[in-house]
């Protein structure tokens, strides 16, 4: 027990005396949450648009006012001829141009039909579609207003409800993703680097020629990172609830418990990496290649897995962070209980046991 404590104290000293490690440990979660929360978002807000109004009547002014009032658009320019629109798109000043033909109001109320041209910059297709949709819905609401109480003989009125995330906030999707990414990086990468550092500096050699069971060296390496990862989970949760307004719908206890499970899985993975690498650089590269990229690509938090070809979907099953991402989304966002994430949890348990077994099998009591 004294020995155990001596190892743990030593490990904490290593971490606390290394500013680089500390910055990664505590800076990364905060930076990532803020980055994803405010900078890297795929929501469309305050898109710059331009108006070319040939009609300048009451109806067109009303619509322009509505567009300007919406939080999706900012009116950047008012044009007087089509060449200016062209120029503005070329310079990248606007994402969307709205063109009202002459006599807009007249044709709308006298001929019961009027057209408006929407020109979007489709060099980014997703944004273009989104912007056009927002604009269309504003036009539609104006149309409804004009129709007033009149009812058309046949109408289908879709009643749309966005479940779990009514405001369609990007944060609901990336908070689980960031949690998966950070826990994996800290638990797996930092642990594997810490173990490999002992090999690289030769201290492992001295510890091997001692009565200390090698497993103790490894386990005590991992324990401080369990604690630090747990602090990180808490930081991310506090930040996302208070800063990003992402509520925790399900049980906090379950969420923390599942996070611990994932931390163990990631640690096991880190141990495995440390048994097959001999230098800190290789361990770091291996962690980044094996952990970070697949987490970004295959966990489904950036690209929907359903859209991937079958072989890629199959690969995604092997990525532990995918399962954790699902669990966090289900528990935190959808508010589901343990029963619903049982399958995912069992898969993580199995992966953890698997990695530990392989790591133990690979672990050397000698130098080669």
């Amino acid at each position: 027990m004294k020995l155990f404590l001596a190892f743990i104290t030593k490990e904490f000293k290593h971490i606390l005396r290394d500013t680089r490690t500390l910055i990664i440990l505590f800076g990364m979660p905060i930076v990532q949450i803020i980055l994803f929360g405010f900078a890297l978002t795929n929501e469309v807000k305050d898109s710059r648009i331009g108006i070319l109004d040939y009609s300048k009547d009451e109806a067109s002014q009303h619509i322009i006012h509505e567009l300007d009032a919406s939080r999706y658009f900012d009116i950047e320019a008012n044009f007087s001829n089509p060449q200016q629109i062209d120029q503005a798109f070329k310079e990248g000043k606007i994402r969307l141009a709205v063109v009202f033909p002459a006599n807009f109001r007249h044709s709308l109320f006298q001929q019961n039909t009027a057209s408006i041209q929407l020109i979007a910059d489709a060099s980014d297709p997703n944004t273009a579609t989104t912007v056009v949709n927002y604009a269309s819905s504003i036009l539609k609401s104006y149309q409804d207003e004009v129709l007033g109480e009149q009812t058309l003989p046949y109408t289908i009125q879709p009643e749309i409800r966005m479940l779990y995330n009514p405001q369609l906030k990007g944060a609901y999707n990336f908070v689980p993703g960031v949690m998966a990414m950070i826990l994996l990086l800290i638990s797996a990468m930092m642990t594997s680097i810490a173990i490999v550092r002992e090999k690289e500096l030769g201290t492992m050699e001295v510890l091997l020629v001692s009565p200390v069971p090698p497993i103790l060296v490894i386990v005590t390496k991992a324990i401080p990172y369990v604690l630090l990862s747990f602090i990180n989970v808490s930081t991310i949760l506090i930040l996302s609830v208070n800063l990003l307004d992402v509520p925790i719908q399900g049980s906090l206890l379950l969420l923390l418990g599942e996070s611990m499970l994932f931390i163990f899985a990631a640690l096991a993975l880190g141990l495995f990496i440390s048994t097959i690498t001999n230098s800190q650089q290789v361990a770091m590269l291996a962690s980044l290649m094996v952990l970070l990229l697949p987490t970004l690509i295959f966990s489904g938090f950036m690209f929907p897995i359903e859209n991937m070809p079958k072989p890629m979907q199959f690969i995604s099953n092997l990525i532990p962070s995918k399962w954790y991402f699902f669990i966090v989304r289900d528990v935190m966002i959808k508010g589901l209980g343990f029963k619903c994430v049982l399958k995912e949890s069992l898969i993580l348990v199995a992966m953890t046991i698997g990695f530990v077994l392989i790591a133990l099998k690979n672990y050397k009591t000698r130098l080669e």
Partner: protein
């Protein structure tokens, strides 16, 4: 019983391409200070790692304290002290923290075996809060020795402990080894410095994975078959050229401040040699007969 026995050890790396050890056999008696002398790449570190249970030999067997290095490696690890060639303590921990940690590793305390490390530790004490990475080379090695001694090992493996250490610290280090020997600890030490060989009880001269000779330092020097002279002049390089050009020169090597010379027929060629150098070197030079050093013996054997 011999403290260390190595029996026909073979070891190669990279699928046999590099032969690190070829048929290494030797025995070290209890409380003996045994030196492995040889240049870099002689296989000293590999031999240490095999005896310290870190590597397995391809063939041959060896034992430490009567325990087989392969079967009883766990028991051996409890009773040996090992100091690798590279500084292998925690650079970000202080002197005291390192020592305390290794005391814990071996299930002991600094106080329990303080008598063994007292002399060295007193030198380290003024720096005990300093990080190990910030110590001088000599201090680092003293600390490493302390850490290797903390559990009162019966056998001590020291792989090049004085490499990169200043002469004063080297001297202190060897005095420490003598003291430990007097306490009954068997010490196997390697060094590339030939002058340190004379401080051992017995030495094994190693090169390219083979042992060239094993004897006491005096014994090795006495075996030296030829007369040996030291020559000196103002232009050492020209002197070396001339000395080597003499037809009956056996060997002539630069040895720091002078050249060491052996002649094919020893004393018979002496006059002819002096005459030859006078004719060709043209400037004054000194020559005097000396007793061979371990390094001369090493050169003669290899």
């Amino acid at each position: 019983m011999n403290a260390i026995i190595a029996n026909h050890l073979f070891k190669s790396f990279e699928k046999g391409k590099i032969k690190a050890l070829e048929d290494i056999s030797f025995e070290v008696k209890q409380a003996e200070l045994f030196g492995l002398i040889g240049p870099d790449g002689a296989g000293k570190t590999t031999l240490f790692r095999i005896l310290a249970t870190l590597l397995l030999a391809e063939s041959g067997d060896s034992s430490v304290d009567g325990l087989d290095v392969k079967k009883d490696y766990k028991a051996i690890r409890k009773r040996v002290g090992y100091m690798p060639g590279k500084f292998s303590l925690y650079q970000d921990l202080s002197v005291e923290e390192n020592l305390n940690f290794f005391a814990h590793v071996f299930g002991t305390t600094i106080e329990q075996n303080y008598h063994l490390i007292k002399d060295i530790y007193q030198q380290l004490e003024p720096f005990k809060t300093r990080k190990a990475g910030k110590l001088s080379g000599g201090m680092k090695q003293k600390l490493a020795l302390c850490c290797a001694l903390i559990h009162e090992p019966s056998v001590l493996f020291l792989d090049e402990p004085t490499t990169g250490v200043d002469p004063v610290s080297r001297k202190e280090f060897w005095e420490m080894l003598k003291y430990l020997k007097s306490e009954g600890i068997t010490i196997l030490v390697s060094t590339p410095y030939m002058d340190e060989a004379s401080l051992c009880d017995r030495v094994a001269l190693m090169q390219k994975g083979k042992i060239l000779d094993i004897d006491t330092p005096v014994g090795i020097i006495e075996k030296y078959p030829k007369k040996i002279w030291s020559i000196h002049a103002s232009n050492m390089y020209a002197l070396l050229q001339v000395a080597r050009a003499f037809p009956n020169t056996h060997t002539c090597f630069g040895f720091g401040e002078s050249h060491h010379l052996t002649l094919n027929h020893d004393a018979e060629d002496y006059d002819a040699f002096c005459q030859y150098v006078q004719e060709h070197y043209k400037e004054p030079f000194q020559i005097q007969e000396i007793t061979a050093t371990i390094e001369d013996c090493f050169m003669a054997l290899s």
